[in-house]
């Protein structure tokens, strides 16, 4: 009896959403450690997990201090890409003329490698936070626009006719129909955007900065201090996960009615 109870608790714990990726992570770390031991990979090529953990443990005040500018630049860049991306998408979806002028250029600009032009921002704006924010913004901007345009355009035209036949003004119809309808698409764009913004901020730090996790990585590679570099990577990944999670939480609050959330509503009611 007691055994069965323990067993059910174990299965319950196994089924918790966060446990599975965590277990997989442990598996990867163990495999990593074994691979280094078995193939005798030297520490200057790949550090052992224990060394990385040691750095994380010993240098965490310094790493945390360096994580702050990166986080700051990421969030600023992400907010900018949302603040510009959504209105631009509205314009593109709202007017054929604007779409024909802007959209092809937008796609074209997206093919320009941001890493290659990032040094330009350093030339223009110096070694401060601005080049990082711009790099984060440029990487995060495009997915927001593409998803939001698709969201705004996929409204059922009969629905618009219906609302207009009730003498709704263009603005009223937009707020009551188009905008809520586009929300799920906008959020999927924002989720892609927030993770890309992290990449953008790090790219900005690579090319010219004296602070941030990108700068830490750049510096530690120069001195073959791979454990530190990997520690910075771990923190970067964590940063991406946390920001993604925050956007996901906001999405749940804003569009609880969406198809992907239906199961939860049924359970809640």
């Amino acid at each position: 009896m007691a055994e069965a109870k323990v067993e059910s608790m174990v299965t319950k714990a196994l089924n918790a959403a966060w446990v599975r990726p965590f277990l997989f992570l442990i598996f990867i770390v163990v495999a990593w450690d074994f691979a280094i031991r078995i193939f005798k990979i030297p520490a200057y090529q790949i550090p052992a997990p224990a060394d990385v953990v040691a750095v994380l443990f010993n240098d965490w005040p310094e790493l945390l201090r360096q994580a702050w500018p990166t986080t700051y630049a990421t969030i600023l860049g992400f907010l900018l890409s949302a603040a510009f991306g959504i209105p631009v998408a509205m314009l593109i979806a709202g007017s054929r003329t604007i779409e024909s002028y802007i959209y092809p250029l937008l796609v074209f600009s997206q093919s320009v490698p941001k890493v290659a032009i990032a040094p330009l921002f350093v030339v223009w704006f110096g070694f401060g936070i601005i080049p990082k924010v711009i790099a984060a913004f440029l990487l995060g901007f495009f997915p927001v626009v593409v998803s939001a345009v698709q969201g705004f355009k996929s409204v059922d035209l009969d629905m618009i006719d219906l609302a207009r036949a009730m003498q709704g003004s263009r603005f009223q119809v937009f707020c009551a129909v188009n905008l809520p309808h586009a929300m799920p698409a906008i959020f999927s764009g924002l989720k892609v955007s927030v993770t890309l913004a992290v990449v953008g901020a790090v790219v900005g730090e690579f090319v010219g900065s004296n602070s941030g996790l990108g700068y830490v990585m750049q510096r530690s590679i120069g001195t073959f201090d791979l454990p530190t570099m990997f520690a910075a990577l771990v923190i970067l990944a964590l940063l991406g996960v946390i920001l993604f999670w925050i956007v996901d939480r906001i999405e749940r609050l804003v569009i609880p009615w969406h198809v992907s959330r239906r199961e939860e509503i049924v359970f809640a009611s």
Binding site: D156, D158, M159, D161, L162, A163, R164, A165, M166, Q167, G168, Q172, V173, A176, V177, P180, H181, I255, W257, H258, V259, R262, I265
Partner: protein
């Protein structure tokens, strides 16, 4: 409502007259004078509707049947003021239509309920759009939901309801601002055959209880005859009037009416229009 054509036993062939002799009662309803529509496209002008002249009396149940693409939906959009006619004029309640006038309730083939609004809130959409006092119409919305048998579903989200129930809610939405006219574009086309029959009986009842003027578009000839006071048969594109038939069946009608000789005769008669045209889809 229509004292002119109460067809009785001494006029057995009245419903087979090609053009209804039901005269304009003079009461405001819908009136079309030489209304046509031509779409501009890259390949030149595409005529969608040939000039149409007909009237729909107040409180009448008027059904339009026709093959796909004969411009039925264009007609509906023009009457609601969403689309200007190329020629002619449309009068709704005696006033010429130039822009959306809000005096119509529209029901489409899909219920088109907003998934983020509750059923009650969906029904209230026209009130929000027209900026009418919410408090005043809330009771009416609840009353309408009761009328269509959706009492107790006010707080549900649309996806929690079946297709038939969703369509009932969209009928409530079309009625909540108390328009004189209801425009319905194949309202039950997406429902299964059994639900569809039941909805037809319900719609008949709702129309009688609310006294609205209804213009309904359908592909189904039996449905048209079952619901209508008059049936307008349209030709293929560009659409024109092939015939207007009276339906002299008494109301209220139950599904048994479909076995009535007048019903079957009329259905056959209308079907012939499409077979001689060679298109029925």
């Amino acid at each position: 409502m229509q004292p002119v054509t109460k067809v009785t036993a001494d006029q057995p062939g009245a419903h087979l007259r090609l053009v209804s002799d039901r005269t304009d009662t003079g009461k405001p309803g819908i009136k079309l004078k030489g209304v046509s529509k031509t779409y501009r496209s890259r390949d030149g002008d595409v005529p969608s509707l040939q000039p149409l002249d007909f009237h729909i009396n107040q409180g009448e149940f008027f059904v339009v049947v026709g093959p796909s693409g004969c411009g039925k939906s264009t007609l509906l959009k023009m009457i609601s003021g969403l689309l200007p006619p190329s020629t002619g004029e449309i009068l709704v309640e005696g006033e010429q239509v130039t822009k959306p006038h809000g005096n119509v309730g529209i029901v489409f083939q899909n219920a088109l309920l907003l998934p983020w609004r509750s059923i009650l809130s969906n029904v209230m959409l026209p009130i929000d759009m027209k900026r009418l006092p919410r408090a005043k119409y809330l009771a009416r919305a609840q009353q309408l939901l009761k009328l269509v048998g959706l009492e107790g579903f006010e707080k549900k989200l649309p996806w929690q309801l079946s297709g038939g129930m969703q369509q009932r809610a969209s009928i409530c939405r079309a009625l909540v601002h108390d328009p004189k006219i209801m425009l319905m574009d194949e309202p039950f086309g997406a429902l299964d055959a059994m639900t569809r029959e039941r909805m037809n009986v319900e719609l008949s009842r709702i129309q009688r209880e609310t006294g609205k003027t209804v213009l309904l578009i359908t592909h189904s000839i039996p449905e048209a005859v079952f619901l209508a006071d008059r049936v307008l048969v349209m030709t293929e594109r560009p659409g024109a009037i092939a015939a207007i038939y009276d339906v002299p069946l008494p109301r209220p009608r139950s599904l048994d009416v479909m076995a009535d000789p007048i019903f079957t005769e009329l259905v056959q008669r209308i079907r012939k229009h499409f077979f001689t045209q060679g298109a029925l889809d």
